[in-house]
């Protein structure tokens, strides 16, 4: 079956531009997570949704980062006024329930800010 998909796979943005990254989780998955992965490091948590409710956004690095999941399925991570330090791979993951089950990751979006 279809896994988690993300688009675009690659994004180049000039410093100061706004970007929007899309995540399509596995159908029916209640939980959705966003992670940021810098080159050579493990992923770091950004935010968590349970259906349409954003229950944890403690990992968002600044108020330039905003995420939404308005209908409880597709999610968008938006970064305003991008900076060079925002360059990273942004990973989306979903899980079936809310009990901390296995997370299924998408391939990520590689963002390069020039």
């Amino acid at each position: 079956g279809a896994g988690v998909s993300q688009s675009p796979r690659y994004k180049v943005a000039k410093r100061g531009q706004d970007v929007a990254l899309r995540c399509d989780p596995i159908s029916g998955h209640v939980s959705l997570f966003w992670y940021q992965q810098a080159l050579g490091q493990g992923p770091e948590f950004l935010t968590y949704f349970q259906n349409e409710a954003q229950l944890d956004k403690s990992g968002l690095p600044s108020d330039r980062f905003f995420a939404e999941r308005p209908e409880g399925s597709v999610s968008t991570l938006k970064i305003q006024r991008t900076q060079q330090e925002d360059s990273a791979v942004y990973l989306c993951a979903s899980s079936f329930g809310t009990g901390g089950e296995e997370q299924y990751f998408g391939p990520g979006t590689r963002l390069t800010v020039t």
Binding site: V4, S31, F33, Y35, Q41, G42, P43, E44, F45, Y48, Q50, L55, D56, G59, L91, C92, A93, T98, G99, G100, E101, E102, Q103, Y104, F105, G106, P107, G108
Partner: protein
């Protein structure tokens, strides 16, 4: 959250068994031990999870001693396609529990 420590890198050869050990000295009573695998340009993929003793699936085995302060991921007869980064994680299985990744172990399998 319990901190994990694992080797930065390991080398092996095709057909060998590979054991990657992770230490998690301050693991809590309700923490589970989970391993993920990540190939270049892909998201991490769940391999195995356990609480104590031994767990085995079609991909790997996970050995956890009685004190649970460490765990060992065992990959039988590795192939070139097992070259990847392997992450050891310790987490509660609670609602909305995000995964806390360390640096992982880069396994290189050589022919």
């Amino acid at each position: 959250l319990a901190k994990t420590t694992q080797p930065i890198s390991m080398d092996s050869y095709e057909g060998q068994e590979v054991n990657i050990t992770c230490s998690h000295n301050n693991i809590a009573t309700n923490d589970y031990i989970t391993w993920y695998q990540q190939f270049p340009s892909q998201g991490p993929r769940f391999i195995i999870q356990g609480y104590k003793t031994k767990v085995t699936n079609e991909v790997a085995s996970l050995f956890i001693p009685a004190d649970r302060k460490s765990s060992t991921l065992s990959l039988p007869r590795v192939s070139l396609s097992d070259t990847a980064v392997y992450y050891c994680l310790v987490a509660h299985n609670n609602a909305g529990n995000m995964l806390t990744f360390g640096g992982g172990t880069r396994l290189m399998v050589k022919p």
